[in-house]
């Protein structure tokens, strides 16, 4: 059965949390002018990678990337899947820890971090335990419940914009390419499209719709960066850790009975991020299950969730999150570029082999 809608929603929702929390801050601190260029370069790379990945996966119907790599040989599986496992694991730790930090910053000032992290990981773990179908169903439910709220908050975020902050338009030196925050901004893309390679045996989807989602998400990337810029200006926006969150707390609406609109955005995005975390848990459990087929995947989910939680507890402050993100940079680019390209090349090879056999 065609489940394109589920897949597409999953792909979109998991990115939104990253876009509005981390992407805007990363891009704003990576360059002082011409932010659009930085965004466009990231988006183009993302588009190319997603396209290559799906093109490559198209050569292997009903197979996930684990079996594709295993079929090539043990070395390929180790070479590609081991970094992937590390990347996903670290990403999960960073995500859980960073989002709990945001939650304490914005509203749960007195709640200890471990309680928030435990809540996030238990809920995500529970979703992941029930398998990939339940993750997708949750995704659809969350989209119905929260996407309208997100769209509303985005509309009103334009309240104080001054479009003249768009200038100066160009950064001629491309200096942002060498800045660590710019590399970190790719965290918004990496990780969220990889699941496409895991779900082939379970659900069918049309690549066309995924590419359409990539296009549909483009405005969100621009809004997340440019609305804070238009409101505060670069010099001010770069002093904020989470520009979009500060932006939301400056919105003043008389007729709305709620005083803090930040809360809506935050809570919606946190649910989307839980979805992301559960997806990562599921992916990890799939890979590990293939290595040790005797153990049930659900045990892996619990074990990984526990390991993640313990990992999170070891991070004591924001600087450590930042350095973890930094270490993850190499893995991130390897996973984001290496896996789609290798899958595509393997796909071409497989096609040629079939042709040769046929002839």
């Amino acid at each position: 059965m065609d489940k394109s809608l589920h897949v597409v929603l999953m792909y979109g929702l998991t990115q939104l949390g990253f876009i509005f929390f981390f992407y805007s801050g990363d891009i704003i601190s990576s360059t002082t002018e011409g932010h659009w260029l930085a965004i466009v370069i990231g988006l183009v790379l993302n588009l190319v990678m997603v396209w290559l990945y799906m093109k490559g996966l198209g050569y292997f119907p009903k197979q996930d990337i684990i079996s594709i790599y295993s079929a090539v040989g043990k070395w390929a599986a180790v070479l590609f899947l081991l970094p992937l496992v590390f990347f996903l694991f670290i990403t999960n730790i960073i995500t859980i820890r960073a989002f709990s930090e945001v939650i304490t910053l914005v509203f749960l000032a007195n709640t200890p971090l471990w309680a928030i992290m435990a809540l996030i990981i238990t809920l995500s773990g529970y979703i992941a335990l029930n398998g990939v179908e339940s993750i997708f169903r949750t995704g659809v439910l969350l989209a119905i419940l929260f996407l309208p709220v997100i769209l509303f908050t985005i509309c009103i975020s334009f309240q104080n914009v001054d479009f003249r902050y768009f200038f100066p338009v160009m950064d001629e030196k491309f200096s942002f390419l060498a800045r660590p925050p710019y590399w970190h901004s790719f965290a918004a893309f990496a990780g969220s499209f990889l699941f496409l390679g895991f779900i082939q045996p379970y659900v069918a989807y049309r690549p066309k719709y995924v590419l359409m989602t990539v296009a549909a998400l483009v405005p969100f990337y621009f809004i997340a960066v440019y609305v804070p810029l238009f409101t505060f200006g670069q010099a001010t926006a770069s002093t904020f850790k989470f520009p979009f969150i500060v932006l939301m707390s400056t919105i003043h609406i008389n007729w709305l009975m709620f005083d803090r609109i930040t809360m809506f955005l935050l809570l919606c995005l946190v649910t989307f991020t839980m979805l992301f975390i559960s997806m990562v848990l599921w992916k990890l459990s799939q890979v590990l299950h293939r290595c040790l087929p005797k153990v049930k995947p659900s045990y892996f989910v619990i074990a990984i969730a526990a390991a993640n939680f313990i990992g999170c507890l070891f991070i004591t402050n924001w600087d450590e999150i930042q350095s973890l993100v930094m270490w993850n940079t190499m893995l991130r680019f390897f996973v984001m570029v290496g896996i789609p390209c290798s899958i595509w090349l393997l796909g071409i090879r497989a096609k040629r082999m079939i042709k040769d056999e046929g002839a």
Partner: protein, 352 residues
């Protein structure tokens, strides 16, 4: 497995109930107005707290002292039987002397902390804070929101009052091309507060002052609606019902030039000595232009770009030079304002 699930669900009840370190609302005090002043390196904090009594609300003013704002608030909190929660502070009143010394730290702390919302209004008080708050307490109605309503757009706000929030002051501290005007108030004779103009804040420091009439022009320049303001001249008084602004910027070598056209739509309310409509328009245009030029000369002298004129040159000056907008370009800026009045109607009577 089922038992495990049940256990997990039961544990959720504990963590999800939202009772973590919770302080009930009857044990919290929620100040509406916060006053900040600084004497001899010590912060003095005034909190205006509405206290619900039987059938009515009473206002309590409490005062605390400390080496930082949080220290002072903590001091108050320790002395009060309830915990102070700054989440609902709507107006921050700053001492004028303190504003002149520089607000950067305070404003940055407000932005950093999660308690005071960035959209809290900022005002400056032109008299002794003790005096101000004691008079405010005496005169304020039972609702206790007078100071807030004074600035609220759907309540007591008037177009000659500048409206500035914490985040805007913060932006002016960091922005290259933008400063802010903060309303100045003092306790009134018959009303609770009296508006006497706006403070000109440059990079978080009060450097000059403009009066209410000039604040109206400032608001018009910000494309804020000036609807409802009555302009009185020699021959007539008119009601402003709409305004728009056209701005054209250009660079002449290193000299920035700004040509602005302010269009006002007015309705005639009163006339004296049978003026013609041309006379009224001319009088209004000349009067406002004169007032504006006068204000702008003073602003330029103070080096504070509250009109945000630098914004219009962002596309024309590279960012590395824009950094010095306030010192290198702003003093040289030539601003040419034309006021164009449209008399929309003259009431039931013809102009003779």
């Amino acid at each position: 497995m089922r038992a495990l699930k049940l256990l997990a669900a039961a544990m959720m009840v504990i963590t999800l109930s939202g009772c973590w370190d919770n302080i009930d609302i009857n044990h919290r005090v929620l100040p509406v107005v916060m006053g900040v002043s600084k004497h001899d390196g010590e912060y003095l904090i005034y909190l205006q707290i509405p206290e619900p009594m039987q059938n009515t609300t009473q206002i309590k003013i409490v005062k605390g002292k400390g080496s930082t704002i949080n220290h002072a608030v903590d001091d108050i909190s320790a002395n009060l039987e309830d915990r102070v929660d700054l989440l609902h502070v709507k107006v921050i009143v700053l001492d004028k002397k303190y504003a002149e010394a520089g607000l950067e730290d305070t404003i940055s702390d407000f932005m950093r902390g999660r308690d005071v919302s960035p959209k809290t209004l900022v005002t400056i008080c032109d008299e002794d804070m003790d005096h101000f708050f004691s008079l405010v307490k005496k005169k304020m109605g039972p609702k206790g929101t007078t100071l807030y309503d004074f600035f609220e757009k759907n309540a007591g706000w008037n177009p000659q009052i500048a409206l500035t929030r914490v985040w805007e002051v913060y932006r002016s501290i960091h922005s290259y091309t933008r400063d802010v005007a903060v309303p100045i108030i003092r306790s009134g004779d018959t009303t609770v507060v009296q508006h006497i103009g706006s403070a000109v804040i440059r990079k978080g420091k009060m450097v000059s002052q403009i009066n209410s009439e000039e604040t109206l022009l400032f608001n018009a320049f910000q494309r804020e609606s000036t609807q409802g303001k009555i302009e009185v001249m020699h021959h007539a008084s008119v009601l402003v019902i709409g305004n728009s602004l056209e701005v054209h910027s250009q660079m002449d070598g290193q000299t920035p030039i700004l040509r602005c056209k302010l269009k006002l739509k007015v309705v005639i309310l009163e006339t004296k000595e049978h003026p013609t409509s041309d006379m009224i328009m001319k009088e209004l245009n000349e009067g406002l232009t004169h007032q504006f030029n006068h204000m702008f000369a003073r602003l330029q002298g103070s080096g504070a770009d509250i009109l945000g004129t630098g914004q219009y040159f962002r596309s024309k000056i590279p960012r590395s030079e824009l950094k010095d907008w306030r010192t290198a370009f702003y003093p040289k800026l030539k601003l040419d304002l034309q006021v164009q009045t449209i008399i929309e109607n003259t009431g039931f009577l013809e102009l003779s």
